[in-house]
Amino acid sequence: MITIRDLVVSFGQGRDAVHAVRGISFDVAEGESFGLVGESGSGKSTVLRALAGLNRNWTGGASINGLDVAQRDARLPRLVQMVFQDPYASLHPRHTVDRTLSEPLEIHGIGDVAARVEKALVDVGLGVNFRFRYPNQLSGGQRQRVAIARALMLEPKVLLLDEPTSALDVSVQAEILNLLRGLRTAQRLTIILVSHNLAVVAHMCDRLAVMNRGLIVEEMDIATLRREDPQQAYTRQLLLASKGYDREAAARLVTYD
């Protein structure tokens, strides 16, 4: 479903250029849920933004369902949608939920707007009485449900999730993760999930790639992650550090370049 070959993404020019992604390749099969894990600056979100067409400044190959992402094919938005980290920033504060959810339908000339908006609200567990509310009348978890509903309005096959629960309380995180798992099954979605949280990826994905400084350190299936049996020292350290504080482990941490 998704193929990425030798993707390089840089920001800036000449000597000040930052190579955020330095040549990575991976594939995601139809219906698969693929995790991209790494620390800040590893390039994981940059990969997602290039795939979503939000950043066009890259080289290499990227295709989704046979469509070349670089060509900006008009069919891409109906195939791929994205959910962002911060539901306080990703919804227009002066648009009602109704307007937020109707907009993609109007842009793509899809009719039957009211029924589709109401169905989407039910699908994400909000219900139709949320239709004419403003974002400031919603909690963080409710906003993230609206953002997920918006991403699903065009019935995409691929959902790109950029840290979809890291701005939420843990009890709300559980609700959103359950929702995403349910939607994935019901709508047969292919998912790429970017997260720094290994436990969230273990819960949501079938396979994952670990990134560091713009490169993929290793790919593995979730069973390997659950057994805590990665090949690379970098991944082992990441796993150790995510298991909570340990004074001796802290002293042994090294920086991987």
Binding site: A199, H203, K243, G244, A250
Partner: protein, 278 residues
């Protein structure tokens, strides 16, 4: 030994157009030279509790307490002048986001040296040395260069370590850290915690560690208070956090995904109205 900090029946409320809102409702605890964790979700009152100890609440907030004493000083009756002598010098506060807490128009070196001059009474030259020393202590490579940078030129993780360095320059007796590592990568987080850990162990500093991360608090602190809707609903030794008895704490622990488990559905929290009073 007398506790470093005693808090009894602390209450913080706000007047709103729809009536009074009680954000902190009768919190009591005492703190020695130890690591005390306060955990809770957003709106639980954990951050306001930390700020109330510093007497740094928004102007609209009303605060009451039966007792609020720090090292024998009654913080409730202390004058503004006395409080200024305590804040920064003896009690320090580290906030979550370095983007909003560092002065954007001063270099890192100037800001840390300022803390050392004002609270430590050092000369400009001594303050500079102290600033360099603290940046090294928080594991910043090339501190001479970082001293010359402005806050926008450093990463989030480095900004957070700079803030911690600044707060530690006056060698406070009590550090209140409000989500000090939430913006950091897990490996940097571990290194920052190790610094705080050593300060408690070696210098006898008291630490209040405010966080939403139960696993982190459980593994890092000595003792944990769990807050819900402005009250402490549970207090435990941190190593026994997994054996929590309050349904709220249990619910939070269960709702966390874990690397090793393969539950298809995470249990979500259903909030019982009786928790508000229990």
């Amino acid at each position: 030994m007398k506790p470093l900090l005693e808090v009894e029946d602390l209450r913080v409320s706000f007047a709103t157009p729809t009536g009074r809102f009680d954000a902190v409702r009768g919190v009591s605890f005492s703190l020695g030279r130890e690591r005390l964790g306060i955990v809770g979700e957003s709106g639980s009152g954990k951050s306001l509790t930390g700020r109330a100890i510093m007497r740094l609440l928004p102007a609209a907030a009303r605060m009451e307490a039966r007792k609020l004493s720090f090292d024998g000083i009654d913080l409730l009756s202390a004058s503004a002048r006395q409080l200024r002598g305590i804040r920064g010098a003896r009690i320090s506060l580290v906030l979550q986001d370095p983007k909003y807490s560092l002065n954007p128009v001063m270099t890192v070196g100037q800001q840390i040296a300022e803390a050392a001059r004002i609270h430590g009474g050092l000369s400009a030259r001594e303050a500079r040395c102290k600033a360099l020393e603290m940046l090294e202590a928080v594991r910043i490579r090339d501190p001479e260069r970082v001293m010359r940078l402005y806050p926008h030129e450093v990463s989030g993780g480095m900004g957070q370590r700079i803030m911690i360095a600044m707060m530690l320059v006056p060698e406070p007796d009590l550090l209140i850290a409000d989500e000090p590592t939430s913006a950091l990568d897990v490996t940097v987080q571990m290194q920052v915690l190790a610094i705080l850990d050593d300060l408690v162990a070696n210098r006898g500093m008291g630490l209040i560690f405010i966080s939403h991360d139960l696993d982190l608090v459980g593994s890092f602190c000595d003792r944990v208070l769990v807050m819900y809707a402005g009250r402490v609903v549970e207090e435990r030794a941190a190593r026994d956090l997994a054996a929590a008895t309050h349904p709220y704490t249990q619910g939070l622990l269960r709702s966390l995904p874990r690397i090793a488990d393969d539950r298809a559905e995470l249990p979500t929290l259903s909030r019982d109205p009786t928790w508000l009073e229990a």
